[in-house]
Symmetry: C2
Subunit: 274 residues, 2 copies
């Protein structure tokens, strides 16, 4: 029996409900499972219709994040915590999984720090944004999650997190999943999305990095582009916190979770791999 | 120390965040509090913008409910479980209340039955609707809610509920709050909204029914129009299940909860009142 944290991305073409059957199987096999999901594509589409289209912040080092003003946060809550979270909970419950959907804000599950000033590259210039509602997770309430698991519930978590003062902040769901895996002493962290893993050369699908030990980390970090940067960073954070295995892999197909667990994708291990 | 269930409506002009300060005070005074909220006005506005405007079903006996097809349910989740729930949780957490926002679907908190065929009066004719995702709450998981309360969390609940098969169903939040009050052995159930209480004559603001015992129930039931019918029904269901006091009152103003507790509005009591 393992503790497995499964993050399912919210990018275009991914519907976490497609993974519900496999999740149900893991749970009926006796594993302790915590699900984390995104919702970026759904949020982008809703934001467009509501006349407040998504904006991406690109940091000087190339990290991408969502510009989150107060109105974006409300839209974010609608899609992440509303539609995506509850329809996934519904799918799981219809498969006899006693799922409970929560944001990281709820019950103080994910407590984080809001970013002060964010440097953003806009048309080649560096702009400082001071009112952004985004940040990073500093602590995860493992006791509360274990209370839920011990009561037979399967937590289905999603951003936002909350600050210690109770303000909702947009956090990267991959890194939040890594922080969750760390405090839960997880055996495995799966970061599943609409990409197959880390490509050494983003233009060459054949250049997938299949096994990455701590020694090779720099290669993965240098190869990762765009949103993949956060996944690789999440992998590093989980491994450094003691999670023994992280897989960045595809969320697609009926065996996506089994495939990732058996090594499809980029497999990150702590220490020298065999 | 009392157990108090507070339902805050989601009608036009009501923002449950305006009641957060009073809720925080009740909790710091040591009461066990469960919040239930609606979200109908938010949902109507969102549905309009998304091009799928709200439709109301009026039953032959005059009860009103929301027509809930699959697309409406997704919109409903966005506003009730997303925006309204999480912004209320945020307000409470910023006042040091350890709030946890959940739908009745989550963790099997509210399990109900989906309506089979619904009779709806449309332009004077009775129409049968068979695919509606609405129903009523049959059971409430008091153990789970008590686990949360014992862990120092304040549940903030909202529709949908779920069927035993895991399907999300739209349920009346007043009656769901009554069912929750019943299983929690609540001392008080407050049904707060944008109306002051039950008017004996809807056109006469001076005709407020102030105290209603079980013997007078028929008067209240005959007087109630539109959505007030569900509130009076909720009051009856709570009283019959052993809740000793139900108040239908206003959610407006900084002392709305205190006012309702001290008897503003329509006060329903089990047995003969003094």
């Amino acid at each position: 029996m393992s503790t497995i944290i499964i993050k399912i991305g919210g990018g275009r073409g991914i519907d976490p409900r497609d993974n519900a059957q496999e999740i149900a199987r893991l749970i009926s096999d006796g594993h302790r499972v915590v699900i984390v999901h995104g919702g970026s594509h759904e949020t982008n589409e809703l934001a467009e219709v509501l006349g407040h289209p998504a904006q991406t912040i690109v940091s000087p080092s190339g990290h991408e994040s969502r510009r989150t003003d107060r109105r974006t946060m409300a839209i974010f809550m609608m899609s992440y915590c509303g539609k995506v979270n509850k329809t996934l909970v519904e799918s799981l419950r219809s498969l006899d999984v006693n799922a409970v959907g929560l944001s990281g804000l709820d019950a103080g599950i994910w407590i984080g720090t809001r970013k002060g000033a964010i440097r953003s590259i806009e048309e080649g210039r560096t702009v400082i944004i001071r009112d952004d509602l985004s940040g990073r997770v500093d602590s995860v309430d493992a006791d509360f999650l274990n209370t839920l698991l011990d009561a037979g519930r399967v937590p289905v978590l999603t951003p936002p997190a909350g600050t210690a003062d109770g303000i909702a902040i947009n956090v990267d769901a991959d890194r939040a999943a890594a922080a969750t895996a760390a405090v839960m002493n997880a055996d495995e962290l799966l970061l599943l999305s609409n990409v197959r893993g880390v490509l050494r050369d983003p233009s060459d699908p054949g250049s997938l990095l299949t096994e990455v030990s701590m020694q090779d980390f720099t290669i993965a970090e240098e190869s990762a582009q765009g949103r993949m940067k956060n996944k690789v960073l999440a992998a590093r954070e989980a491994l450094e916190a003691g999670v023994s295995r992280v897989v960045i892999g595809s969320a697609s197909g009926p065996d996506a979770i089994a495939n990732a667990r058996s090594g499809s994708g980029s497999v990150f291990t702590n220490g020298v791999y065999a």
